[in-house]
């Protein structure tokens, strides 16, 4: 019940500010704290080595990562659940038999 209350409070809290969230840019703490103080002391953030913030590039990266991850996951799932499973069962039978 305690967690339900916390979730409810957060939801109500956020829902009261939905319009503001949608219409204005909400800077992250990296901008409001980290980069702000760094700038005050003469340090500025550089562009990332791979800048994915260009059009749909990030979606493309996620698509590729999902595809590669899916194939890897599927491959190891096969090893774990298909190729190794009968062997383990055979070993178990040997032990119990």
């Amino acid at each position: 019940m305690f967690f339900l209350t916390i979730f409810a409070l957060f939801t109500v809290h956020y829902s009261l500010f939905t319009d503001t969230t949608a219409s204005e840019k909400w800077p992250g703490v990296d901008e409001t704290v980290v980069e702000k103080f760094a700038k005050e002391h003469g340090r500025e953030a550089k562009e990332p080595f791979i800048n994915t913030d260009q059009g749909d590039l990030l979606l493309f990266v996620f698509l590729i990562a999902g595809t590669v991850g899916g194939f890897i996951g599927g491959y190891y799932w096969r090893i774990l659940m298909v190729e190794r499973a009968p062997k383990i069962r055979r070993d178990e039978q040997k032990i119990t038999g």
Binding site: S15, L16, T20, T21, A22, V29, V34, F37
Partner: protein, 257 residues
């Protein structure tokens, strides 16, 4: 009995809907991180934090190899945990009272479930992917980010949970406090890293407090959210799959329901 079941279903449904709404609202803004961006830290400080991080990551690799050699199913479990940490630490949460966005760390829950060593390794992988493809943090500041989020977050979560459980404190409260302290420890360490790196000739302590205080409006409510999230996950696992918690040595066999 019937009433109890339907009541339970309604409560679950309510929690599910609230979680969906919270997630939805949290996704409407750009993701911003507590990670220290590329170029913020001078080279010597970036190198220093990287040197600190290396033995912890190596320890994580060693523990993973050792534990998975005993139990083959441990690796997929760690993979799943890594996905959880990656997603949680990518989740931008708006904090209306502060007018900013921040995100939870996820190291509280991973520290509890897989231990601090593997949690650090998981965080290092999540941070690397974020630095490479999401512009969250940088490659030169990867070590500093591993130390703040991985090392400090995981240890704070793990130790708080262990300490409170050894004092026979309720599972939910122990989980809540672990999540809360993991989050706050991360941002406190980020303040130390930032203050020590950018201070130049100015004294360390005033700058450290200035940065730490600036984090408070965002991280105070977010830490509470992370605590609630961690407690929810641990409690759910305890109720539904106590065997998994026994397997991961979070609880003893006799504690399982």
């Amino acid at each position: 009995m019937k009433f109890q079941i339907s009541n339970f279903k309604v409560q679950n449904y309510f929690i599910f809907v609230l979680s969906l709404v919270t997630c939805h609202l949290s996704l409407v803004t750009d993701a911003h991180a507590m990670h220290i961006s590329e170029g913020i830290l001078p080279f010597n400080w970036a190198l220093f934090w990287s040197v600190i991080a290396v033995p912890f990551v190596a320890w994580g690799l060693y523990r993973l190899k050792k534990l998975s050699s005993v139990d083959l199913s441990f690796k997929p479990l760690v993979g799943l945990m890594a996905a959880v940490v990656f997603i949680i630490s990518c989740m931008p949460i708006p904090v209306p009272t502060a007018g900013t966005c921040s995100h939870p760390c996820g190291t509280g829950i991973s520290g509890i479930l897989v231990g601090p060593a593997i949690s650090i390794l998981i965080t290092a992988v999540a941070l690397l992917i974020q630095a490479l493809f999401l512009a969250h943090g940088g490659l030169s500041t990867w070590g500093a980010d591993i130390v703040s989020m991985g090392v400090m977050g995981s240890f704070a979560g793990f130790l708080t949970f262990k300490l409170l459980r050894s004092m026979k404190i309720n599972m939910a409260i122990a989980g809540f406090m672990a999540g809360l302290f993991a989050d706050w420890a991360t941002y406190l360490t980020t303040s130390v890293e930032l203050a020590s790196g950018i201070r130049g000739d100015s004294p360390f302590m005033p700058l450290f407090w200035k940065i730490a205080v600036a984090f408070i409006p965002t991280q105070l409510p977010l830490g509470i959210l992370e605590g609630a999230m961690t407690a929810g996950m641990v409690t759910l696992l305890y109720k539904k799959r106590p065997d998994l918690l026994v397997k991961m040595r979070v609880i003893k066999a006799e504690e399982a329901i």
